[in-house]
């Protein structure tokens, strides 16, 4: 058994995949350095140094075989932070190299492909929920600020959505769990990585004067648009799982 250790980056992972083929490893697993705990004492460790040209070669090949959409699915598997993500991606690449003429991601009868498809579904659902459940709060400096805590690392997947939507206001979306965010300043829309966690205590004191009013209006709207005679909390919670409530203005 050979274990390839990589730096946890997307390029690093595909460099590792490249090297699996380069060195013709048969019995192999890929693990990120950070999350790796050696269990198999007989494993041989191979340290991968991230090389963008190697990862690019794998990705280009993949794009030929399974299309942009296929590569996008593997990106979602990567962002899922699933403990098995590296080996699922490796399995997909191996199958695709073996059957370049087919889109192997459509072979739902294969257990790895089915698992990839399920992960994609979960990540997509979370991505969609973040386009829905982000709540901006207007700050004194005019920036619309939002904090999120998604189950999967979906910030890269929602960048375009918010960029297209809000072009005439400054905004920021901050992932509390992963301590990074997206910032749009009317010109560019980029990720930012603060050195320390952003302090969100007492940040309500920095609200724009009108912010509280619109929050109250929204809360009143939310209450009044409900039909009491049709109350169905089971359905409600199914659509708006409780873990999102603390970030939703209407669930104050």
């Amino acid at each position: 058994m050979t274990t390839l250790l990589y730096d946890g980056s997307f390029d690093g992972l595909f460099t590792a995949v490249f090297e699996v083929f380069e060195y013709r490893y048969k019995d192999v697993e890929i693990a990120s350095r950070e999350r790796f705990h050696q269990e198999n004492i007989f494993a041989v460790i191979h340290e991968v140094i991230t090389q963008p040209d190697k990862s690019e070669r794998v990705l280009n090949k993949l794009e030929q075989n399974i299309g942009k959409e296929g590569v996008n699915k593997l990106l979602k598997v990567f962002l899922s932070e699933d403990p098995d993500l590296e080996n699922l991606i490796l399995s997909a690449v191996k199958q695709s190299v073996k059957h370049p003429e087919k889109n192997i991601l459509e072979n739902f009868a294969d257990s790895d492909v089915l698992k990839i498809s399920k992960i994609c579904k979960s990540v997509d659902r979370e991505r969609h929920r973040m386009t829905a459940f982000v709540r901006f709060e207007k700050m004194q400096d005019g920036v619309f600020f939002s904090k999120i805590d998604p189950d999967f690392n979906v910030l890269p997947l929602i960048r375009k959505h918010f960029y297209n939507r809000y072009q005439d206001q400054k905004w920021m979306i901050y992932d509390l769990r992963r301590n990074y965010g997206l910032l749009y300043d009317l010109a560019t829309c980029d990720f930012f990585y603060p050195d320390e966690k952003i302090d969100i205590n007492n940040y309500q004191q920095k609200f724009h004067d009108e912010e509280k009013s619109y929050q109250v209006l929204w809360q009143r709207y939310f209450t009044k648009t409900n039909i009491v005679e049709r109350k169905n909390m089971k359905l409600h919670i199914q659509h708006v799982p409780k873990r999102y409530w603390k970030y939703l203005t209407e669930k104050w």
Partner: protein
């Protein structure tokens, strides 16, 4: 802006608009122009859900709940003694923009009671849409209610600024409408709908020739019917829906189980339960017509004109058409696979995709997401299927129901939520 007064108006006019079922924000693409606000995508987004489980994707309000009409089923009816209010154009625009900026909504759904007459009301609705588009550079979603009797000129303008227009036909049958809304007539409702439909067809023709044509109600039209306020049957309702889908190219027909809010001899009593399960079955039938290739006349048997409350309409169809089964998973066309109870659109697509790689088994089917407890009786695998022997069993229906229908009864029983 007087915040307290605005809050009060919002409470009154959201409360009065909530019985309108539509909240869809899909079917329109409106790209953001550089530096402007908003972008609509085809799929739409539900930003939250009310405690009754309905989606909130739009700010759904009435412009006013003053109304000259006295329709028995409507809370805003003129004879009902309630608080009345009206928004100004500026107030609606301000609420829409500020809610949208905070990512609460996809846009605006604006309906209205009729004050003075149809055109005065319609003109006001159009003015709001126009201001949002032209002055605020707003590219979010706008759904306007077409006011029955509104003139063609105003409908033309409405279609230029709104994404979707809708007329509520309210009561499925004309006799029912006469009974509950004697001042309204079907003709006034149909005529703006017909105008928009013609406009949409014309727009699509022009678009084939010219690159740049102004958008004309790009998300199409919808309508809604109240179910259970009068004594129409499900077959009549489905036929009406089918008629609108076929002859008016409607995007959606909504069904709204009647919520008894007013005491009136012509209406079910205030203690009547909201017919949620019936409403649910109607939506399932609607789906069968729109996505599964079923014809209206296949869904219900004229001898039994009500939908089966025990089983869903697709299973009900299968039980009446056992001779069409079993269906071979490996060779049958996609359209036939869609007809297998327990297999939805996504699963059917996956099946058609996966079977090119290998022969499918029951185990695969389960993993692909089919409701195998129902599907297993209707499928022929190349390797055979032991469950097929039940297909000819006299008690087949009972056997099936035993395994699958309890969920709905719990979910839609009013009893549970009363206490």
């Amino acid at each position: 802006m007087n915040f307290d007064r605005l809050k009060e108006k919002l409470e009154i006019l959201a409360d009065a608009a909530k019985y309108d079922v539509s909240c869809s924000s899909s079917g329109s693409t409106r790209k953001n122009k550089k530096g402007a606000l908003g972008d609509s995508s085809a799929s739409g987004i539900c930003h939250t859900y009310t405690e009754d489980g309905r989606c909130v994707s739009l700010l759904k309000i009435l412009l006013t709940n003053h109304c000259i009409y006295d329709c028995a089923y409507c809370v805003s009816r003129s004879s009902n003694d309630i608080k009345r209010a009206a928004f100004t154009v500026e107030e609606v625009v301000d609420l829409t923009i500020n809610f949208y900026r905070r990512n609460y909504i996809e846009g605006l759904f604006l309906s209205s009671g009729i004050f003075k007459n149809a055109d005065t009301t319609m003109e006001r609705l159009v003015r709001i849409a126009k201001k949002l588009r032209l002055e605020e550079n707003f590219n979010g979603y706008i759904h306007l209610k077409s006011i029955p009797g509104a003139s063609d000129d105003l409908m033309q303008e409405a279609a230029l600024y709104a994404d979707r227009l809708s007329v509520n036909i309210e009561i499925p049958t004309e006799s029912g409408l006469k009974l509950l809304a004697p001042e309204k007539n079907r003709k006034d409702m149909i005529s703006p709908m017909r105008y928009i439909q013609k406009g949409i067809v014309q727009y699509q023709d022009e678009k084939k020739i010219l690159k740049k044509v102004p958008k004309f109600a790009p998300a199409g039209q919808s309508t809604q019917m109240i179910v259970g306020a009068t004594n129409e049957n499900d077959l009549q309702i489905i036929k009406v829906a089918d008629h609108f889908y076929k002859n008016f190219n409607l995007k959606r027909v909504y069904y709204s189980g009647y919520v008894p809010v007013l005491e009136d001899q012509r209406l079910p009593s205030l203690t009547t339960e909201v017919p949620m399960l019936r409403e649910n079955r109607l939506y399932q039938s609607d789906w069968l017509m729109r996505f599964y290739g079923f014809k209206a006349e296949e869904i219900l048997d004229p001898n039994v004109p009500f939908l089966d409350l025990e089983v869903d309409p697709k299973l009900s169809w299968a039980l009446r058409n056992l001779h069409q089964f079993p269906i071979n998973l490996q060779t049958a066309e996609y359209q036939l696979i869609l007809r297998i109870p327990g297999i939805g659109v996504k699963t059917a697509q996956k099946i058609v995709s996966a079977r090119r790689f290998q022969i499918l088994t029951m185990d695969h089917l389960k993993k692909l997401g089919a409701a195998v407890n129902r599907a297993k009786y209707f499928i022929d695998f190349n390797a055979g299927n032991a469950y097929l022997k039940y297909l000819t069993d006299k008690n087949f229906r009972k056997l099936l129901i035993g395994g699958s229908s309890s969920k709905f009864h719990n979910q839609f029983s009013q009893q549970l939520s009363l206490f």
